[in-house]
């Protein structure tokens, strides 16, 4: 997580397709090497979904944490931790790319 900064902006990779079906957010790998096995798909929990929808290539991670803290009336520190945690997981799985990295 050390290379992930709150000022950074991310967008879903075009190597995955995110689908919302029956309120579930399902991430279907498109490119090889993301899903290691056939028949396997990814789902996000409620926290993950709330963050994913805001990874739009415009909001920085810090701004996402601000928006969510206001929306969910939750401690900013906790939300920031969730935003950084999910971002790390998604980056590890090649599901996100950074916009205009410095």
């Amino acid at each position: 997580m050390s290379n992930i900064h709150l000022e950074s902006v991310y967008v879903p990779s075009d190597e995955v397709v995110a689908r919302v079906i029956m309120d579930e957010l399902i991430i279907v790998p498109l490119a090889a090497g993301i899903g290691d096995m056939e028949d396997e798909l990814y789902t996000l929990n409620e926290t993950g979904k709330a963050i994913w929808y805001r990874l739009d290539g415009h909001l920085s991670l810090g701004q996402i944490a601000d928006v969510l803290a206001e929306e969910y009336d939750a401690p900013r520190d906790e939300i920031e931790c969730d935003v950084l945690g999910l971002t790390a997981e998604l980056l590890r799985r090649r599901m996100l790319i950074e916009v205009n990295p410095v």
Partner: protein, 390 residues
Amino acid sequence: MTYITLRNRYNQPLFTKGAPVLQYLDIELTERCNNACKHCFINLPIHDQNALAKELNTADWQDILRQAADLGALSVKFTGGEPLLRDDFAELYLYARRLGMTVKLFTNARLITNGLAEMFSRIPPLEKIEITVYGMHPETYDVAACAPGGYVEFRRGVERLLEEGIPFIVKGALLPDNMDDREEFEEWAKTIPWMENRPSYVMFFYQRGRPCNLALRQKIDHARINPEKGVALISSRPDYRDEMKQFCQQFTHPSGAQLFNCGAGIGGGIDAYGFYQPCLMLRDPNLTTNLKTTSLREAVLNTRPNLLKMTASRPDFLERCAHCFLRGLCESCPAASYAEHGCLDQPVEYLCQVAHAKARDIGLLDEKEKAWEVQDWKERLENLNTKESL
């Protein structure tokens, strides 16, 4: 905290708030095939002009795939005929994958090119490709498939998938022409890295589901294996009988007059000409919907409730099938009945004989018994493992 979970959709339910309107879609891209197997009910010649003129075009299929994705379908099967005969196969495959659907491909592998294998490597289907095998030598394959040079092309296609590491499984079509290749086929299947189980076989063939000439129907009749012999072949596998007994205890019981006890309509199939069918086998025009005039949503929503209300009216079905406790074991169904007789509720004698042979093989019936006359079927099922069922 775990924000993201990897789920095997076949073992772990993906949805907690009910299932989507359309759970899967089977697409028959063409009825044309580069094989002309004697047993097959769907293998028009490659250049059949009538079929070519009627087949949906690329944009039509893309529209249907888009509708299917909007209805929640996560998986699409491309089958045929031979789906790789379509010039736009790669385009449709990529379109489906980019919609976030996984793709199951049913093929004979003869048309797997380096380009296709490379595409599957780059954008994997996320489901194992299923390859039907018609023999292990040119002398058997080419005769069974009526396709000179077919065997060489099939092996080349398989090699291309192996080289690229594309997961696939093989299944056999057992015909009089290739029966002697079975052991060799099973040994070869063991060498395929993605074969978790022994290969399955098609051998109790369906008749043609569309009107066609008598000679073709007779070909299928002749390709049908004797039921006792067919059951003897599959029951020689280790664990077959135990698995079959467990299956029967779980799924076989009389189902009364209700016609559809299956998953028809939960997903659905679309034939090469754009007609939605509750399952790909069911060709009854009264149960199909033309997607050129009706949306896929309407077709799906209108079909399943109607199927569940349908009951049999033919006396032979009501006397036999309605009371038969082998119903779960029997491959006869409205689709098979329609293919054989042109109606939904007439017993298919051949499949009835197969079900009885299977039941005799595991000790559920004796030689002369008819399953629909058996009164103590519950006790027989309960006692299956104790060998006291008769």
